[in-house]
Symmetry: C2
Subunit: 114 residues, 2 copies
């Protein structure tokens, strides 16, 4: 997707400090952090939202959770705890139309979750 | 897990109105809803938290997201949008030690997510 900001990060057109990269996934800090640890994890493949997740392509989501589980341990928030949030559409608060997962930790996350 | 409340729902010891069930997954309404639609989706298998998700067992998470995507369409919130939240540990706000995913929709979800 030529005008997707996350695709531009994937292809190197926009520079950011990567926290993690492999052939399927990227992780980097949110530019407007809402917690001491606030990382975005995205698939390299352009999938616009959870509405496009189905029985044929869901594997990437579980894979991303396995990466998030590792990152939480590396960032020292696994024991105290953290929250994973994925927004879909306008009422969900999705601001970039490329599937992404927020990993938030380092403080007490409140309830309700927004 | 004999004293896990979600395992008791899975094995029928605690009754609840199921929204969805298959061989791997259950979905039911949160007893303390934070939005007009507030559904919990859980794996039938007892996995205590995201900390226990790894390269060998992550498949269930993607599968749950594919079910959530379907449920959002069925509940009429797919177009307007929704949020998926998973809490891990105390600072994340996890209150039942059985992996679960909150699907929230039907109102504007705020930011930060708790």
């Amino acid at each position: 997707m030529t005008d997707c900001i996350f695709c531009k990060i994937v292809n190197g057109e926009i520079k950011t400090t990567l926290i993690y990269e492999d052939d399927k996934v990227l992780a980097f800090n949110d530019i407007d952090p809402q917690a001491p640890v606030h990382i975005l994890v995205i698939p390299k493949e352009h999938i616009s939202s959870i509405n496009n997740i189905n029985e044929n392509n869901h594997e990437i989501v579980g894979y991303i959770y396995s990466i998030i589980s590792k990152l939480a341990k590396e960032k020292g928030i696994a024991d105290k705890g953290y929250r994973i949030v994925s927004n879909c559409g306008q009422e969900g608060g999705q601001t970039v139309d490329h599937l992404h997962f927020h990993l938030l930790g380092g403080r007490n996350l409140q309830w309700p979750p927004g």
